[in-house]
């Protein structure tokens, strides 16, 4: 059992939790993830590590309330316990040898992009953060990003904050204006990462994507999270979740992520009615 030390709503649908998990905190690195089960009869869901405190022995997760499992998790409060919490899983994001990087985050993906940006900043890399949200109300981690970024560009779909438009518009503008990145690291919805890769391919800028397929065990024993990368089948939980964006078959990944849509829809409808209005 893993105690919730802190719980904070970052926006109406995104929650931060700091969880007592000393063994995970000891080893966690940006880019890695955990698998949790909120309750004894719960589903196993993967969530990326958004932060950790090795001395306190805590791990921070940030999640968007999108369905039954995340609603159950969000119903827990400070002092409550998460039934199972295992990690750190997957490979850490590679940062060696980088000098200038654009970190492109979308929505709740920014929670995963932030620790990567912070680590890059801490080891002396020039970081340009481009973050995108649907509207002003959904913005998360703005101050945190600003503190670790040499350049911070905020985009909203409706223009209610920052600039109006998509992260891809901002990225293309920066590249066009002469910014030369060693690498672009992008984390967000599949469709966003696909379009980011569309832009960077044009300019031949190496791009790392953080994939988020359906997972069960997260240790390489089932292959539920498999992807086609460079024509080869890879398991995102052990070979990733980071991959070369130019090589990933995004259309296949998007089709696979819809496998349980009807089931998820049903689970969501059955789950807490209070939250339903906010989950779009």
């Amino acid at each position: 059992m893993y105690k919730i030390i802190q719980k904070k709503a970052l926006n109406p649908t995104v929650t931060l939790m700091e969880v007592d998990a000393p063994l995970v905190a000891r080893k966690a690195e940006p880019g890695q993830f955990i698998i949790l089960r909120a309750s004894e009869d719960g589903e196993r869901i993967p969530l990326t590590i958004a932060g950790y405190d090795r001395e306190k022995g805590t791990v921070t997760i940030i999640f968007q309330i999108v369905g039954g499992a995340t609603e159950t998790l969000n119903a827990l409060n400070e002092g409550d316990f998460i039934h199972d919490f295992v990690g750190p899983l997957g490979k850490a994001t590679e940062t060696e040898g980088l000098k200038k990087v654009a970190v492109v985050g979308g929505g709740v993906g920014c929670a995963i992009a932030y620790p990567v940006a912070k680590k890059l900043h801490d080891i002396g890399v020039e970081v340009h953060s481009i973050v995108g949200f649907r509207n002003e109300d959904l913005i998360i981690l703005e101050d945190e990003f600003k503190a670790v970024s040499d350049k911070y560009v905020l985009m909203t779909d409706d223009g209610s904050a920052g600039e109006k438009g998509l992260v891809t518009n901002a990225l293309e503008k920066l590249i066009e204006s002469g910014e030369e990145y060693d690498e672009v690291i992008t984390i967000g919805p599949l469709i966003m990462m696909k379009f980011v890769v569309g832009v960077t391919k044009k300019y031949n800028v190496k791009t790392v994507v953080s994939m988020n397929p359906i997972m069960v065990d997260g240790t390489g024993m089932c292959g539920g999270c498999r992807l086609t990368v460079g024509g080869q089948t890879k398991f995102a939980c052990v070979d990733g979740p980071d991959f070369d964006g130019f090589e990933v078959d995004f259309d296949e990944a998007m089709a696979r992520s819809a496998t349980y849509k009807p089931f998820e829809q049903k689970a969501r409808e059955e789950a807490c009615n209070l939250l339903k209005m906010e989950v779009k």
Binding site: L23, K27, E43, V216, D217, R226, T233, E252, A255
Partner: protein, 463 residues
């Protein structure tokens, strides 16, 4: 006077057409009368060939003698001297190629039903004796076991009985390994697995779930920082193989591991489960082993029309004859001499499987008839779900995070056959992690052998 009937006492079972719609246990077990009657078929041979057929050498004629006299708890005590999981092994051991294969009664007629008697005795004990076993006094040595499958449980049990401070580390949220996630409820009720694990806990064994050795903690840290004197690796062979044919990543295509984990570990077959599983209309299972039979019978119970596709013929099926028979009775079809070459999809979902027709060639040096393609002959089987059950191999995680641990090319850990000692001092290994996918009882035997060697090593060091 012994019972000279040529046939075993039949196992009471659920009717095929009833059981293929539920996940309750198929075999219902002997009554006391049936068990005593069956025990009377044993001739008590002096040379005890049955014992040599058992990988952990249970004193079979001795325990059967107690069953004859209705002394079931005494029979249990005899079995548990050698076996840590009798209720499990009585159910899932392939007795026809082990103890029962050597039984003298099998020369003319059927052998004594040793497995069914073992199961009866273990179930009797579990139903009637609730007292916790006496916890042995601690000898001060610490042992870490990686993996809570059959080999780890057997190793832990033997060492705990000797007073070692044993901790099992398990990556999943529930202990049992393949007994928990792989073998379905209808063959091995999970409550039985839990009882065996609770028994070990009563002996003082600690079980730490949610710890992935190689990620959360490395083997070197277990030894250097956590103070474990010896480590046993029983991490199994849980990495699924795929065929690498086009269309294999279409929706509806599962590894047997994923399909069975969702069903058994996550209980996705229950209507109110939080973990989803597809309820297929028609499923194709690829492979012919016990795992393929389990996956097929699960798919059937979810309501699917099921076909097992195998590239050889019925004679070569690696699954137990009893499992094949059960599958057939439950209405599962077989397409022999078919080898999938492509998965055909529609809107991202599997629609059919294209199979190459095969024929068997002359036996090769291993004596096995190799399947070869019949030029130009193909077969298409429609389905909305496909389950790949063509084997598993050891997970590379431990190998890649443990310096100096030698492994075979295919990933198996290299360990001494007698002792389980690996290339690292104080680190032992056994079960599928060493041999590749094999049986529950062989894994248990390896766990026991390693426990013996670990005990000797630690006692010698202490001197």
């Amino acid at each position: 006077m012994p019972n000279m009937s040529l046939e075993k006492n039949k196992m009471p079972s659920q009717e095929p057409d009833v059981r293929n719609k539920n996940f309750d246990e198929v075999a219902l077990g002997y009554t006391a009368e049936m068990a005593i009657d069956e025990a009377n078929r044993c001739l008590h041979c002096k040379h005890r060939p049955c014992v040599s057929g058992c990988p952990v050498q249970v004193d079979i004629p001795e325990f059967i003698e107690e069953v004859k006299n209705g002394r079931f708890e005494e029979a249990y005590q005899i079995i548990s001297r050698s076996s840590s999981l009798p209720a499990v092994c009585g159910r899932v051991c392939p007795q026809e190629s082990q103890c029962e294969q050597k039984c003298v009664r099998g020369i003319k007629g059927e052998p004594v039903a040793i497995g069914r008697l073992e199961r009866f005795v273990a179930d009797y004990h579990n139903a009637n004796f609730k007292d916790a076993p006496v916890k042995p006094a601690s000898n001060g040595h610490k042992v870490a076991i990686i993996g809570s499958g059959p080999s780890g449980l057997a190793c832990a049990g033997d060492l705990a009985k000797k007073g070692y401070d044993v901790t099992i580390y398990e990556a999943l949220h529930l202990a049992g390994g393949v007994l928990a996630y792989g073998i379905p409820e209808f063959r091995l009720p999970k409550s039985i697995v839990q009882k065996e694990i609770d028994g070990l806990k009563a002996l003082g064994v600690k079980v730490e779930t949610n710890v992935v050795i190689g990620k959360t903690i490395s083997i070197d840290e277990l030894k250097d920082e956590f103070g474990y004197e010896t480590v046993f690796i029983g991490s199994g062979a849980g990495l699924p193989k795929f065929m690498n044919i086009p269309g294999e990543n279409l929706n509806g295509v599962y590894s047997a591991n994923e399909f069975l984990t969702r069903i058994n570990l996550m209980k996705a077959y229950l209507g109110d489960s939080k973990t989803p599983i597809m309820r297929p209309k028609s499923a194709v299972i690829v492979g012919g082993g016990n795992v393929a039979m389990d996956a097929a019978r699960c798919a059937k119970r979810l309501g699917a029309d099921v076909t097992i596709v195998y590239r050889r013929t019925k004679e070569e099926l690696p699954a137990r004859a009893e499992e094949v028979e059960h599958a057939e009775e439950e209405g599962i079809k077989f397409a022999f001499l078919n080898n999938p070459v492509e998965v055909i999809g529609e809107n991202g979902w599997v629609k059919s499987v294209k199979c190459q027709q095969m024929e068997l060639s002359e036996p090769d040096e291993s004596g096995r008839r190799r399947p070869v393609a019949v030029e130009g002959a193909f077969n298409e089987i429609e389905c909305d779900c496909m389950i790949m059950s063509i084997g598993t191999s050891p997970n590379p995680l431990i190998k890649s995070t443990t310096e100096g641990l030698d492994t075979q090319k295919w990933g198996g850990i290299i360990a001494d056959e007698e002792t389980g000692l690996t290339s690292r001092e104080g680190v032992y290994a056994g079960g599928d992690a060493v041999t590749g996918a094999a049986t529950v009882i062989l894994a248990m035997g390896a766990g026991k052998a390693a426990a013996k060697a670990m005990d000797e090593y630690m006692q010698n060091r202490a001197k």
